[in-house]
């Protein structure tokens, strides 16, 4: 079911940076290298890991490879987060009530 490796993959700051960069649209490896200021092998390695995790897609474009975000696995995060979201909403609500009482 839930492939929880997604968490580990996203734990790496460089990989989140890559995903964030790809939010603005598909990009080649080298443009990502320029953007995040890491060596090309490092970027390729991280992209490989993101790809294995289903978080990005590749589309060959001549000699380049265009990477884009594939957000489906993030639904796991969302799902895991849900019961906790309820918790913190409750607490926000009771804080609000508390503030209302103080008025």
């Amino acid at each position: 079911m839930l492939n929880m490796k997604t968490f580990a993959v996203l734990a790496e700051p460089t990989r989140r940076l890559l995903l964030d960069s790809l939010l603005e649209g598909a990009q080649s490896v080298n443009s990502l290298v320029d953007r995040i200021g890491m060596s090309q092998p490092v970027v390729s390695k991280h992209l490989r890991i993101l790809r294995d995790a289903g978080l990005v897609l590749v589309k060959p474009d001549g000699q380049r490879r265009l990477y884009s975000v594939s957000p489906a696995p993030l639904a796991e995060l969302e799902a895991w987060l849900e019961p906790y979201r309820k918790l913190w909403n409750e607490r926000l609500n009771s804080l609000e009530e508390h503030l209302d009482e103080m008025e």
Copy 2:
């Protein structure tokens, strides 16, 4: 601002297991040890890390320590996730439209 160490802390499966256990209410260290089947030092160590990350709170209760979830840092996850959620919603919508067209 955003303390992205939260991601790394949550990347560890045992720690997510601990948090999930605590969703059912505050618990002592030993009850968590029994629940997740790991050694007491391991559990204490992970709880320490969760505590440093602000993800759990401790309340001394005699010789025990009652741990409970403190969900505030998870708002970071939520925030980071947001632009991606938009992405996958868009894709769900276009899938829907596509299915509608096929009818």
